[in-house]
Structures are given as structure tokens and as C-alpha cells.
Symmetry: C2
Subunit: 158 residues, 2 copies
DNA sequence: GAAGATTGAGACATCAATCTTA
DNA sequence: TAAGATTGATGTCTCAATCTTC
């Protein structure tokens, strides 16, 4: 992802894609390393905690959790398996639809979130926000939002 | 990676990180899907071809190739294994340092690159460039470059 | 039949250890 | 001893198939 040297003479535009890949990798690497070393928490686990903390009763259907985290159904099943084994989340049946399983924060999960959140916030500040001016940040977020939204297509009438 | 609802009342800044994650995922997904379906080529393979095409004699040391692609040593070994089995690259010994192995483009690798490059360029245009104005694009690339560079450790003059 | 969740099999990445050469 | 590359063991993701419930 480093063919940013010269894609073609006079084609500066397409350097955006390799840059995006490198910037993303740099952020993931930095955040995961800091969360792991300071709290023993993988970034993926932290992201689950963040989503659940913000959900209505600290719980979410497996399916919705997977969607929020950009994971497949089996992917979220296994991630919750591991976090359940670690005592950070639990599984609860749904009273109105017995096909549904909720992933729910445990007390320990909440405590872990509170402990890790400042580390993550500091990392975002250090490795992302700090490098941009206010104006850059606005433009940056605006551009990212467009790209992220572009893929959220109306699924073909399904 | 979707805790962009509200990280905290009055903290809009940190929405940049989840947006970056989603935008990156959207791009990777779109490019990989198009390259796979139209050329039967995984995005990771295409990236190897891009790097090699731009390298001096169409070849690069395994180590440098891995660095360019943000892969570990074992990661690049195995990726080249698969591409070698598919006939897209070959391995050549280095005449001056017998520890070194070069990964080199084959004729078929070059042909595959020429066939896939327009598909990739079109994808970048469609899924990235098209969504941004010139001004946005400049700001976007400038911001990304700063973030990507921030993690680039001082390469020990090697 | 379709939706939600899980399971089994396979693909691909990493770490640590190993082998060869400098 | 260190550098370059590979191998073995292991972890996590995906797809396809399955089970249960709507």
C-alpha cells in the first residue's frame, strides 16, 4: 500500500487510497498497542464495550452488534464467546422473540470500559486529533463521512 | 466502530476515528470485491503487483516488499508463496548476499497487473475521488499524510 | 420459507523459534 | 552476534451449512 511514489505522471489524485490505508493501519496499531499494554484489552474488545455502553440497557442483539462492528454473524458470535469467557459480557435470551440473543455488559465489563476509555481517548487525541488543525479536522471528517456513507447502499430491496 | 452517536456531549472531535475505520473498510471492501469479480485477483495480490511494477527491475527483497505492504516477515513469505504457486511472481537469489531472496514479477504477473490496473483505478475514482471536491481532496490527503507519517518511525538509515 | 444465531471448515495473519549467511 | 527468510503453532476472520424459532 505504498505505491504512492507516482501512480502515473500527473496523477496525484489516486495517492489518497494508499494514504488512507497507511493512516488507518497506523491508528489501529497505535490504539491497539496502548490498550493492550496498559489495560490488557484488545482494541476489538474495547470497541464492543463502547457500543454496548451506549446501547439502551447496556445490551444489543448479536446481529446488531455485528453490524455496528462491521463483523459477520459468525465473527460476532466468536468474539462474544471470548469476551464472555473473560467475564466482560453475558448472553441473555429475548422474551418476545426466542430466536434472538442479547449480548449484555456485565459489571466487570462496565468497569473495564471505564478503565480503558481514558486510554483510548488519549490515544485518539495523541495519534489523530493532535496532528490536525480545526479546519483540517472539519474537512477530514466531512470527507470521511462521505466515503463511509457511500458504501451504505440501499440493499437491493432486501 | 460505530460509536459515533455521541462520544460525550460536546465532543465531536473524536468521531474522526470511527469514521476513519468505516471509510477504510468501505474502500477495501469495494476494491477487493471488484478486483475479485472482474479479474479473479485479491486486492492483496494486486498491491504486491503494484509495488513490484514500480520497483527497479520489477523485483524487491522479501523484507522490503513486506515493509511496503505493512506485512510481517512471515506474512510476506506466505503471500509470495501463494502468488508464486499462481505463477505471478518468482523467487531469485541475490548474487552479492546469499541471505537475500528477491521476489520478481513474471511475464504473467506483469500481464495480470496491466489487466487489473484499470479496474483498480476505476474503483478508486468511483468509490473515493468522485465523492470529494478538489479542495476536499487536498485537505483530505494532507491530513492523511500527517497521520500516516506520524507512525513512521525513523527508519535506521537503512 | 425467512430470520437469528451457531458450528465446521478453510484462508490468512502474527509471534516465536530455527536455519543460513554476513 | 546480527540480518534475512522460512517454518510451526496459534488466533481470528469468513463462507456455507445447520438448528431453532418466527
Amino acid at each position: 500500500v505504498r505505491y504512492d511514489a507516482r501512480v502515473r505522471p500527473g496523477d496525484v489524485r489516486h495517492s489518497a487510497w494508499p494514504l488512507l490505508a497507511r493512516a488507518h493501519a497506523a491508528l489501529v496499531d497505535a490504539l491497539d498497542t496502548e490498550l493492550q499494554s496498559e489495560r490488557g484489552l484488545p482494541l476489538a474488545w474495547f470497541e464492543v464495550l463502547v457500543v454496548l455502553v451506549q446501547a439502551p440497557r447496556g445490551r444489543l442483539r448479536m446481529n446488531d452488534l455485528g453490524t455496528a462492528l462491521l463483523l459477520s454473524k459468525s465473527g460476532i458470535t466468536r468474539l462474544v464467546d471470548r469476551m464472555e469467557a473473560a467475564g466482560l459480557v453475558g448472553r441473555c435470551p429475548c422474551s418476545t422473540d426466542r430466536r434472538v440473543v442479547f449480548a449484555a455488559l456485565t459489571a466487570r465489563g462496565r468497569a473495564t470500559y471505564r478503565s480503558a476509555a481514558p486510554v483510548a481517548a488519549r490515544g485518539v487525541e495523541r495519534h489523530l486529533v493532535r496532528h490536525l488543525t480545526k479546519a483540517e479536522e472539519r474537512a477530514f471528517c466531512s470527507a470521511l463521512a462521505k466515503l463511509a456513507a457511500a458504501r451504505e447502499r440501499p440493499p437491493p430491496s432486501a
